[in-house]
């Protein structure tokens, strides 16, 4: 482990152990360098790492400060990396929803066609859990409902693909639950959409199931977007660096 890592760990522990409170100013880079006996470049690299982890925030000319919101990590998963990914590039959230619209639509269609009795039972159970749970509490029932449908599609490739996106999907579900559900009329609409999906699958109406599922994802997408346009913080949106549209996919 290099010195840079060591320094960032030391600083992080200092902060987490309470030596430095949230919002408090961290010693200047030059002071830290002198005190820890390393060059300022090392200090800066360590601070950037902590910055990447969201532990500190830096302001030009003023100093670095302990971030106010220490994550607390509700899921001890390492999806914090993904969270930052979304935080830095909110567009990715919509990219994912774009893909989800297709795949969930297909899953619902296939589920309507292929669901076995066991599948129907699983889906029904998940749906009931969804109805009974306090919507604001957490996103798990919501995700469970979608998951049951996906598995009922009996397409292992589809299951695999959506499984690989699971962590990210949980985030989008979380975003929708956290931002949309608190608004009563939104919650009503989403409930209704879930019901339509559920009934269409149970009735074996494949096309209706597909359309309902796609409409549901699209509704979430549009709602989040309009929320964002109203200035709400869907997921911490930052001004992005412009001009990513001229050389986006090309490699070095």
């Amino acid at each position: 482990m290099g010195i840079s890592q060591e320094v960032s760990f030391r600083l992080e522990r200092l902060i987490l152990d309470g030596g430095l409170a949230p919002g408090q100013k961290i010693p200047s880079e030059r002071q830290l360098a002198a005190r820890l006996g390393v060059s300022r470049a090392i200090i800066r690299e360590a601070l950037h790492e902590l910055q990447g982890r969201g532990v500190i925030e830096t302001q030009h000319g003023r100093g670095s400060f302990v971030a106010s919101i220490v994550p607390a990590t509700d899921d001890l998963e390492e999806n914090s990396a993904l969270l930052h990914l979304f935080a830095g590039h909110p567009r990715t959230l919509y990219d994912l929803l774009e893909v989800r619209e297709q795949l969930e639509g297909q899953a619902a269609e296939l589920a309507a066609q292929r669901a076995t009795r066991g599948d129907r039972h699983s889906i029904t159970k998940a749906y009931q859990a969804l109805e009974e749970t306090d919507p604001m509490s957490n996103a798990k029932p919501d995700h469970g409902f979608h998951q049951a449908i996906i598995e009922a599609s009996h397409n292992p490739i589809l299951v695999h693909v959506l499984n690989g996106l699971k962590n990210m999907m949980l985030l989008t579900v979380h975003a929708s639950v956290a931002n949309l559900n608190p608004r009563a009329e939104m919650r009503q609409l989403i409930m209704k959409q879930h019901k339509q999906i559920y009934q269409a699958i149970m009735a074996g109406r494949a096309n209706a199931a597909r359309k309902a599922a796609m409409a549901h994802v699209r509704f979430v997408q549009d709602s989040l977007r309009s929320l964002e346009n109203q200035g709400a913080e869907v997921i911490r949106v930052s001004l992005n660096s412009g001009n990513f549209h001229e050389n986006p996919t090309k490699r070095y």
Copy 2:
């Protein structure tokens, strides 16, 4: 926003857009510095930030590598397991084609809407290579054409998903090329379909592009299925160890 942040965003964007795949080595610090016209210190600070977010991993003396963003699955093990599943279970071929129908349709639609000049050039090049190559020879031009379209969709999630399915996609493409192309009338039809996809994207006709792409995949699907019903051996199973584990997705 400082240059350092901008650099880290740019790198992240590159990675997300699929220009750099997980596990791939990113250019050396000195190369990046020269290429982006900034000092090496800046590059190092940006890399440390990405490191803090878990986007990249660095090894002394070797280089920095893109971390697998979608953790858990998505890697070699899972893929090879699916490959085995594929070999022993031809139905999986159709499962994959089912999913491909959706995703390629979406990719074509988005490409028609979002392709930059550079994208159009790449697609055109791939299309020309496709026209000029002996169709029976190999599947690479075919796959390259689809790949160019996917990248032009500018949806990093979509790129990642289809990238994860790349090995299997190559197999389906190979199956289609090997079984369908030798038949003259089939080859004609497929050529025509490719042309329709290409023209629709170039003309920016999103809906037509989607439909053409979906029709193409569905055509391959139906053709293979009818071939199979005639008793032909659609996919040659490569020699593999029998030894079947129960399939990971616990279906069937």
